[in-house]
């Protein structure tokens, strides 16, 4: 049997630096869960189709299951465990609670990280597949939110609450001018 090949990498996860020896085959998701004990990020399909593993990788949302840890040596990662600041949930997390945006909760960490990244993308004026005028400012209506969140599946079907929560977080963010 072929022997595993290991590589030394560093990762900054939720603000804390780590030096790790990883099997080159290990996904970022597996390193977070198995090596660092951060089990918030979930393994759903392990093929990039369900979004349960979504984390923020160097500030952008990405599927942790498709990212080889070794290929992201030196990266900054934020997981669902890192969204709260100083013991306070993020406005998006609060909105999820307020709008009952989950049932079993398995997809929720991925939904939260994905929506956090998505709100940044929208703020920077990134268009989506349902944006009619590619030159216009981004307005996050329900159709835009659904399209931009299509990489996150919820088998409980909590989508109505998820869209409402994301809409509220987007509106509050806009009102706060941040």
């Amino acid at each position: 049997m072929d022997m595993p090949i290991y590589a030394e990498i560093t990762l900054v996860v939720n603000g804390t630096g780590h030096r790790l020896s990883v099997d080159t085959r290990a996904s970022l998701l597996d390193v977070l869960r198995e090596d660092l004990g951060l089990t918030g990020s979930k393994k759903g399909c392990d093929h990039g189709q369900c979004g349960a593993c979504t984390v923020l990788l160097d500030g952008r949302r990405a599927n942790g299951c498709l990212a080889l840890a070794v290929a992201h040596d030196g990266a900054e990662v934020v997981t669902v465990e890192g969204l709260a600041k100083d013991g306070r949930l993020s406005p998006l997390q609060e909105a999820f609670i307020e709008h009952d945006a989950f049932q079993c909760g398995y997809c929720t960490p991925g939904q939260l990280c994905s929506a956090t990244g998505m709100l940044d993308e929208a703020e920077q004026g990134w268009p989506s597949a349902v944006t009619g005028d590619l030159g216009a400012d981004t307005v996050l209506d329900d159709e835009e939110i659904r399209e931009r969140m299509s990489g996150n599946l919820c088998r409980c079907g909590a989508y109505a609450g998820i869209v409402a929560a994301v809409r509220q977080a987007a509106q509050r963010r806009e009102a706060a001018g941040t």
């Binding site: 090949i5 080159t24 498709l66 990212a67 597949a129």
Partner: protein
């Protein structure tokens, strides 16, 4: 998954030198890592080229673009110059995958992604593309979303990219660094039809590294339209990338490429020829579409794609004609 060595290339030359037998270039990994997990790809070594300095989009004075091979799909679609000058390219990229996949995926990786034919992706099944000579169960099996044109007895796979369809319509060129030096080829000569070598998706030689995509200026309204089995995050059943220049009710110029119909993005040269100088009416659009689709050879369960893509061509051209005439 078979263990593999990982090396990060520091330059194009370094990448070529590290690329030896059993090595595969790694971009964003969104398709390759998945195929490795499925046991479809088993590289002995990955040469990571995602960190090479090919992450810029250059707008040249004539309106053409030079897009670095390592530009992420997201960055390409968000780029203001792309959105303004080549909207169908931004639309095509946005029509593919999900937000998180597009953030990881690169331009060259998008071009070189493998087919999503269910038999290719299932290592327990025969597949001439994965295991030459083993047979093609898709021809008689599950093929409702496979090719209607240009297929062979050996392979009925389709190319899954949306972006490549827009680049085909735009007449893009692919800049390649190979062991014998640099060359630039039309995108139409990058992907190939399966013929009796379905294991070869492209004309690339071992070690060849795509470094950039050059896109000529467009200067007419354009649109990418995609039909899929759910509202988002699904591969195309069929898609159309079109640009149309009309003057006084007559087609002055046109670009048209089709996705989801063949082993490569299908530039509809015959339809384009039939349209230049034609009246801009639904009837003439339909006649021109049928010229191209005359060579279609649908399989038992995918004949629906012929009228579907014909109607999509007519609808997209009609929309562009109305926009150009207003």
């Amino acid at each position: 998954m078979r263990p593999f060595a990982y090396e990060r290339a520091t330059s194009v030359q370094d990448a070529l030198e590290r690329h030896s037998d059993g090595a595969v270039y790694l971009g964003g990994g969104t398709n390759l890592v998945d195929l490795m997990r499925l046991g479809v790809e088993e590289p002995a070594r990955l040469v990571d080229v995602a960190h090479l300095p090919h992450d810029q989009i250059e707008l040249r004075p004539d309106g053409s673009l030079v897009i670095g091979a390592a530009v992420s799909n997201s960055a390409l679609a968000a780029d203001r110059t792309v959105r303004e000058g080549h909207p169908m390219l931004a639309q095509a990229v946005l029509a593919g995958a999900s937000g998180q996949v597009r953030n990881l995926a690169t331009v060259a990786g998008n071009l070189l992604q493998r087919t999503r034919c269910p038999y290719f992706q299932d290592a327990s099944k025969p597949c001439n593309k994965r295991d030459p000579g083993s047979g093609c169960p898709a021809r008689e099996g599950e093929h409702h979303n496979l090719a209607i044109m240009g297929h062979s007895p050996e392979c009925v796979a389709t190319h899954p990219s949306d972006m490549a369809v827009a680049l085909a319509a735009l007449g893009a060129s692919i800049r390649i660094q190979g062991r014998a030096g640099e060359r630039t080829i039309p995108i139409d000569e990058l992907h190939r039809l399966p013929e009796n070598e379905p294991e070869r998706d492209t004309t690339l030689e071992p070690g060849d590294l795509i470094t950039a995509v050059e896109v000529p200026p467009l200067g007419m309204p354009s649109r990418y339209r995609k039909v899929r089995e759910r509202a988002s995050f699904a591969f195309a059943l069929v898609s159309v990338a079109a640009a149309l220049d009309v003057d006084d009710g007559v087609v002055r110029d046109v670009r048209l490429a089709l996705g989801g119909v063949a082993h490569k993005p299908w530039r509809a040269w015959h339809t384009e020829d039939a349209l230049r100088g034609a009246e801009m009416t639904g009837e003439s659009f339909q006649r021109a579409a049928e010229v191209e689709l005359g060579v279609a050879e649908p399989l038992r369960d995918n004949a629906y794609k012929v009228p579907l893509v014909r109607n999509l061509i007519v609808r997209t051209l009609t929309e562009l004609a109305e926009r150009g005439a207003s």
